[in-house]
């Protein structure tokens, strides 16, 4: 796996799978995202890090076409999320913060429903559904009602839904929030597998630092709607500094900057 990673980050640059340029989002008076720009290369696994309320979910919702941006642009696999929305959405697999599940359905029928929505060709649908269920370890509960499943399993169903159409880009919004430590480890292993086996680009948001260290190759840190830091994980933690120290340092510096600005 490490060789693979090196090949990705060190070799000739892959095309950009996610391009965000000058993104702004305003809710009434409050500006949640203020001129954010970044790019993610195909095959990269990027951690989108920031404290609660930093604008992570908003950015992901814009990327997936759920919310329109106030200004700026975002492209997924070369398709603008606004003007070429259908193509962009087809290229995306999205797990929102709360998995969008129908409690009365079974994982099998639910993932099949999503496969239909995402235009998986009829001939390949059954295979795609089975594969998604298998990769997420859901074969044993495929005929149970989703409402009877534990939170960890529901999260897996949410992941299965996101990968069923084999998207180029996977957007995961806090995929391990609210899970117990064992479930967290399982979901992380799953995401790592997905990233390693497919050539999927993954962007996952979190405010849990070890998560980034466990899964990601690169970190994009945002605070109050702006990019604070964008570096490969290896560079960041070089010299034995843990990500937590970097994070705390950056965030407190950011906070004191804000205080100074407010005072001036």
């Amino acid at each position: 796996m490490s060789q693979d990673e090196k090949g990705r980050s060190g070799g000739s640059p892959a095309p950009l799978a996610i391009e965000v340029d000058g993104l702004r989002k305003r809710y009434g008076d409050h500006e949640a995202v203020r001129g954010l720009s970044f790019g993610v290369r195909a095959g990269e696994v990027v951690g989108f890090l920031g404290p609660n309320g930093a604008g992570k979910t908003t950015v992901m919702r814009i990327l997936t076409g759920f919310l329109p941006a106030t200004d700026g642009s975002a492209r997924i696999a070369g398709h603008d999320v606004f003007s070429d929305a259908t193509a962009a959405r087809r290229a995306i697999g999205y797990l929102p913060e709360t998995p969008p599940l129908y409690p009365e359905m079974t994982p099998a029928s639910y993932v099949d429903f999503v496969a239909r929505l995402k235009d998986v060709p009829r001939a390949k649908r059954r295979e795609a559904v089975d594969r998604a269920l298998e990769r997420c370890g859901l074969l044993g509960v495929r005929r149970r009602e989703i409402r009877q499943l534990s939170k960890g399993y529901r999260q897996r169903v949410g992941l299965a839904q996101a990968i069923v159409h084999d998207p180029q880009v996977l957007v995961l919004d806090e995929p391990t929030v609210g899970l117990d430590p064992i479930q967290i480890r399982e979901i992380r292993a799953l995401i790592r597998d997905l990233a390693a086996s497919g050539n999927q680009t993954v962007i996952l948001s979190t405010h849990i630092l070890p998560e980034v260290e466990a899964i990601c190759q690169r970190v994009i840190l945002i605070g109050r709607g702006q990019k604070i830091l964008d570096q490969p994980l290896a560079e960041l933690t070089a010299g034995g500094v843990s990500l937590e120290e970097v994070f705390t340092r950056v965030m407190t510096r950011d906070a004191s900057d804000a205080l100074e600005k407010g005072a001036a």
Partner: protein, 266 residues
């Protein structure tokens, strides 16, 4: 179109997993049966009385269509107004409450796919309701000789009213995430559309001094469902009545689409 069917079939399956669908269909069957029996006894009694009083000319004009089927369907469309909100309240509201709207709105489908899918699921449900109600008049064909055309026209009327009310229900369900609010809103809209418009005209006109034959009053009366039911129940299928159901459904579906679309801009 494919996506419309996908959404409709999922919705219909979910409806039949919940108890609401069965409660509504049971109530509907019981009410239809009761009303039908009542109409049947009424008809029988009328016939008996006319025979006793030797009013043969009146007896001649007595027939199953006008004295039984028509009042039966005429009361059933009012029942639709009370039961349907329970079916349609969750159509869009539950997606928002579940967070599944985020799935639908980030899928490569259009908002029309969502609205029409929900509408189609509701239409399929009221088709089942109409079929159940139709079972009773159909019985009469075994024992009597009602006019087929007139009966079918009445059933078509019941179905069209229900379909129009589904469109209203989709709209009311799309303005909120709370199913109870959606239920009440649908019910109020249907009460106004179905029953209260003529009274509103009468009351407001009598106060304002505008003659009750003024164009405004005519338009408001045209908007009431009641003004498009009677002729059809009597077997007269008028294009203006058909247009009413088409236009009303289209308006409410367009409103639903606008509401769902605008939600992401707020």
């Amino acid at each position: 179109m494919r996506h419309v069917l996908t959404i409709a079939s999922r919705e219909l399956r979910s409806l039949f997993v919940s108890p609401v669908a069965y409660v509504v269909l049971t109530l509907w069957s019981v009410i239809a049966g009761t009303f039908f029996l009542a109409s049947l006894y009424g008809f029988h009694e009328q016939q008996f009385r006319l025979q006793q009083m030797q009013m043969l000319d009146r007896l001649e004009t007595l027939n199953l269509n006008d004295q039984l089927i028509e009042p039966f369907i005429g009361s059933m469309w009012v029942i639709v107004l009370f039961l349907l909100p329970a079916v349609t309240m969750g159509l869009v509201a539950s997606e928002k409450a579940n967070g599944t709207d985020e799935l639908l709105l980030t899928s490569p489908i259009s908002i029309w796919d969502i609205v029409l899918g929900k509408f189609l699921a509701g239409v399929e449900f009221v088709t089942i309701m109409t079929a159940i109600a139709g079972f009773f008049p159909a019985l009469l064909f075994f024992y009597g000789d009602p006019e087929l055309g007139k009966t079918l026209s009445g059933m078509l009327c019941l179905w069209l009213v229900s379909v129009t009310y589904v469109a209203v229900g989709v709209f009311a369900s799309s303005v909120t995430r709370n199913q109870l609010v959606a239920f009440i809103f649908t019910f109020v809209l249907l009460l106004i559309l179905g029953m209260m418009l003529p009274f509103i005209v009468d009351i407001s006109m009598s106060g304002s001094g505008i003659p009750s034959e003024s164009p405004v009053a005519e338009v408001i009366r045209w908007m009431a469902t009641g003004s498009h039911v009677d002729r059809m129940l009597q077997g007269l299928i008028d294009t203006s009545d058909l247009a009413y159901y088409g236009v009303a459904s289209a308006i409410f579906l367009l409103l639903s689409k606008t509401v769902i679309e605008s939600a992401r801009w707020r």
